[in-house]
C-alpha cells in the first residue's frame, strides 16, 4: 500500500519534472526540473531495493553531468524563447509521429507481455542480497567485455574532447613550475664589482 503510494508519488513527480524540462521558459529552470526528475527516478530505484543504481544515478547524473550542463548553460546564455521559434511549424509532423509512437507503446505495453504474472516477480531480494555485490559479480564476469569497451569509450570521449577544444595559444605565457622551483641564487643574482 505504502509502497504503491510512493511509487505513484515518484512516478508522477518524475513525469512532472520531465514536462517541466520541456516547458520551462528559462533554461536554468529546465535544468532544475531535470535534476528533480533524476531524483525521483532514483527514488523509483530505491523502491525496487536497487539502492546502488539509485545512488549512482544521483552521483553521476545529478552530481556530475548536470553540473556540467549548468556550467555550459551559464556560459552560453541560451535563449530558449528564440530556439522555440518555428516550433509550431514542425508541430504537425512531430506531433503525428509522437502520437503514432504513443499508440504503439500503449498497445505494446498493454499486450500482456509485461504483466506481473508473466514476468517473474521482481520482489524484494534487496533485503537478503547486497545488490552492489551482485552487480559487481556480473559486471566483472559476464559483462566484463562490455565493461572494458565502455572504459575505452570513455577514453575516446576524453581524447576527443581535448582534440576538439585544446588549442595552444601562441601569445599566452605558461608557467613552468619545476623550473621556478629549481631556480638557484646564481641564476638570478649577479654580483657586480663596484
Amino acid at each position: 500500500m505504502l509502497e504503491a503510494g510512493f511509487f505513484y508519488l515518484f512516478a508522477a513527480m518524475s513525469v512532472i519534472g520531465g514536462m517541466g524540462v520541456v516547458l520551462a521558459r528559462n533554461t536554468m529552470h529546465s535544468v532544475m526540473f531535470l535534476i528533480f526528475c533524476f531524483f525521483n527516478t532514483a527514488g523509483l530505484f530505491f523502491l525496487l531495493d536497487a539502492e546502488f543504481l539509485g545512488i549512482i544515478l544521483i552521483l553521476i547524473y545529478v552530481g556530475a553531468v548536470m553540473v556540467l550542463f549548468m556550467f555550459v548553460i551559464m556560459m552560453l546564455e541560451v535563449n530558449k524563447a528564440k530556439l522555440k521559434e518555428g516550433f509550431l511549424q514542425y508541430l504537425p509532423v512531430g506531433g503525428v509521429i509522437a502520437l503514432i509512437l504513443l499508440i504503439e507503446l500503449i498497445a505494446a505495453s498493454s499486450s500482456g507481455v509485461f504483466n506481473t504474472e508473466t514476468i517473474a516477480a521482481v520482489g524484494h531480494f534487496g533485503k537478503d542480497v547486497n545488490n552492489t555485490v551482485e552487480i559487481g559479480k556480473v559486471l566483472y564476469t559476464q559483462y566484463l567485455l562490455g565493461f572494458e569497451i565502455a572504459a575505452i569509450i570513455l577514453l575516446v570521449a576524453l581524447v576527443g574532447a581535448i582534440v576538439l577544444t585544446l588549442r595552444t595559444r601562441k601569445d599566452a605565457k605558461y608557467q613552468n613550475i619545476s623550473k621556478q622551483v629549481n631556480v638557484r641564487k646564481e641564476d638570478r643574482l649577479r654580483k657586480v664589482r663596484m
Binding site: A107, V113, L144, I153, V159
Partner: protein
C-alpha cells in the same frame, strides 16, 4: 560480509581477442608516443598505424578457425564471418591512413588522429564479433564516437564542425532508438544474446507480437541509420562533404561493412521469427534508398556530396542481399562490400591527390581535362567510376549481378527490376565525371600531391577492380566461405 568468490574466474580463450587487443594497445601507445616525437617526425605514427593494421590482419588470420568460437564468457564470437569482415575493415583503415599521410602534414594533433582511427576500427571489430546486443551496442558507440570526432577534426573549418554536429545529434538519436528497441526484445525474451533472442521469439506467445514488432522496428531504425539507408540517410551528404576527405573515405566504407555485418547477424540470428515482417519493411526501404540515392546524386556539383548519394544508392543494393536472406544473398552482400571498398577508396585517393589550396578537388568542374594533364589518373578514375556504375566486366558489375540474382531467386523480381532501372540512372552521374575528364578543356591549374603510397593506392585499387571484374570467382568463393558462423 557478502560471500564473494575470490578470485573471479578468468575468461577462457582470450587469444581469440588478440587482434582487438593489439589494436587497443597500439592506439594507446600511439597516443603517448606522439608526445615524444618532433614535429617533423609525426609521419612515423601513420606508418606505425599501418604496421599495426598489418600485424592485426596476420593475427586475425592466425586465430581464425573453421568454426565459431566464443570467449569472454560467451560475449565475443570469432568465426570466419567476423574474421573476413575484420580483414576488410583493416584494409579500409590502411587505405584511409595512407590517404591521411599528406593531409595530416599541416594539422595539429597528429597522434590523436591516428589513435582515433584505430579506436574506430576497434569498435567496428568488436561490432562484427558481437553475438549479443551488449557487445554490439558498445562497439557501435565506440566506433561512432571516434568517427564524430574525426569528422569534426578541422575545428577551424565551419563545414567540418557542422558535419560533426549533425552526425553526432542524429547518431545519438538513432542510438537511442536502437537501445529502445533492444529493451523491448529483452523484455520479451529476457536475454541479450542474438541466438537466445531468436529462440525466445520463436517460442513467444501471440500476445507478444506487438511488442516484438515495436522492438524490431526500433532496432531496424537504429541499424538502418548507421548504414545510411533512406529515410535515415539525411546526415550522409552533409557529413561526407564536411569531413576531411580521408575521413570521408574511411566512413564511406569501414562502418558500412561493420554495420551490414551486424545487420546480417541481427536479422539472421535474432529475428528469424519475424522474417516476413522485416522483409516487407526492408523491401520498401531498399526501394526508397535506391531511388533517393541515384536520383539525388544527379543534382550534385560537389564530388564528395555526389559520392555520398552514390553510397546511399549502393547501400540500397547491398540491402537487397539481406532481403534475399539466403546464402547467395548474404554472400552477395559481402561481395558487394568487398568490391565497394576498392572502388570507393580508389576514387577518394584520386580526390585527395588533387589537392589544391587546402581544398581537395571537390567540385566536379575541377576534373575537367584531367586526361590531358594526368592520363594515368584519368584512366584509373575512369575504371573506378565505370565499376561504380556497374559497367560489365568490371568488379562493380559482378557485385550488382550477385545481389540482383539473389533477389530474383527469392522472388523479389520487382525490386530487382527497380534496382536495374536505377543503376542505369546512376550511370549518368558517373559518366558525367568521365565526360569532364576526357572531353572538356582544362579549367583550373592542377596541383597534385606527389606521394608514392597514395599513388600505389590508386594503382592497387584500379587493378583490383579490373582483376575482380575479369575473374570474379575467387572473391565470390571466399565470400561464400566466409559465411561460416552466420549460416
Amino acid at each position: 560480509m557478502a560471500n564473494v568468490t575470490f578470485p573471479f574466474p578468468y575468461p577462457q580463450h582470450l587469444e581469440l581477442m588478440l587482434p582487438e587487443i593489439i589494436i587497443a594497445i597500439m592506439a594507446m601507445v600511439l597516443l603517448i608516443w606522439d608526445l615524444f616525437l618532433g614535429k617533423d617526425k609525426k609521419g612515423w605514427i601513420a606508418y606505425a598505424a599501418i604496421a599495426t593494421c598489418v600485424a592485426t590482419a596476420f593475427a586475425t588470420i592466425q586465430v581464425t578457425t573453421g568454426g565459431a568460437l566464443t570467449t569472454f564468457y560467451g560475449y565475443f564470437v570469432l568465426d570466419p564471418f567476423a574474421s573476413f569482415s575484420k580483414l576488410l575493415m583493416l584494409l579500409a583503415t590502411v587505405f584511409a591512413v595512407i590517404l591521411s599521410l599528406d593531409y595530416m602534414k599541416d594539422e595539429e594533433n597528429v597522434g590523436e588522429y591516428y589513435c582515433l582511427i584505430l579506436f574506430a576500427l576497434l569498435g567496428m571489430m568488436l561490432m562484427v564479433s558481437a553475438n549479443n546486443f551488449v557487445t554490439m551496442y558498445l562497439g557501435l558507440e565506440l566506433m561512432a564516437l571516434s568517427v564524430y570526432v574525426l569528422v569534426g577534426y578541422q575545428r577551424d573549418v565551419l563545414r567540418s564542425s557542422e558535419a560533426a554536429l549533425k552526425y553526432f545529434i542524429l547518431g545519438a538519436l538513432s542510438s537511442g532508438m536502437l537501445l529502445y528497441g533492444i529493451t523491448f526484445l529483452y523484455g520479451v525474451t529476457a536475454s541479450f544474446g542474438f541466438d537466445a533472442i531468436g529462440a525466445g521469439l520463436v517460442n513467444a506467445n501471440n500476445s507478444a507480437h506487438g511488442v516484438v514488432m515495436l522492438g524490431m522496428v526500433f532496432v531496424l531504425a537504429g541499424l538502418v541509420f548507421k548504414v545510411s539507408i533512406a529515410p535515415f540517410h539525411m546526415w550522409t551528404p552533409d557529413t561526407y562533404e564536411g569531413a576531411p576527405t580521408p575521413v570521408t573515405a574511411f566512413i564511406s566504407v569501414a562502418p558500412k561493412v561493420a554495420g551490414f555485418v551486424v545487420f546480417m547477424r541481427v536479422l539472421h540470428d535474432a529475428l528469424p521469427a519475424v522474417q516476413a515482417d522485416y522483409t516487407m519493411i526492408l523491401v520498401v526501404l531498399a526501394a526508397l534508398t535506391i531511388v533517393v540515392g541515384n536520383v539525388a546524386a544527379i543534382a550534385q556539383r560537389n564530388i564528395k556530396r555526389m559520392l555520398a548519394y552514390s553510397t546511399i544508392g549502393h547501400v540500397g543494393f547491398v540491402l537487397m542481399g539481406l532481403i534475399a536472406a539466403n546464402e547467395a544473398g548474404y554472400a552477395g552482400s559481402l561481395v558487394y562490400l568487398t568490391v565497394y571498398l576498392f572502388m570507393n577508396m580508389g576514387v577518394f585517393a584520386i580526390i585527395v591527390l588533387m589537392r589544391r589550396d587546402g581544398i581537395q578537388g571537390e567540385l566536379l568542374d575541377d576534373f575537367a581535362g584531367l586526361s590531358k594533364v594526368r592520363p594515368g589518373y584519368a584512366l584509373a578514375m575512369g575504371l573506378l567510376l565505370f565499376s561504380l556504375a556497374g559497367i560489365p566486366f568490371l568488379a562493380g558489375f559482378w557485385a550488382k549481378y550477385v545481389v540482383f540474382m539473389a533477389a530474383i531467386e527469392t522472388g523479389h523480381l520487382y525490386l530487382a527490376l527497380l534496382a536495374i532501372v536505377f543503376s542505369v540512372v546512376g550511370c549518368f552521374y558517373y559518366l558525367r565525371v568521365i565526360k569532364y575528364m576526357y572531353f572538356d578543356d582544362v579549367r583550373i591549374e592542377f596541383n597534385f600531391i606527389e606521394s608514392i603510397p597514395m599513388k600505389m593506392t590508386v594503382v592497387v585499387t584500379a587493378l583490383a577492380v579490373t582483376a575482380i571484374g575479369l575473374y570474379p570467382d575467387p572473391v565470390m568463393a571466399i565470400c561464400k566461405q566466409a559465411l561460416v558462423g552466420l549460416i
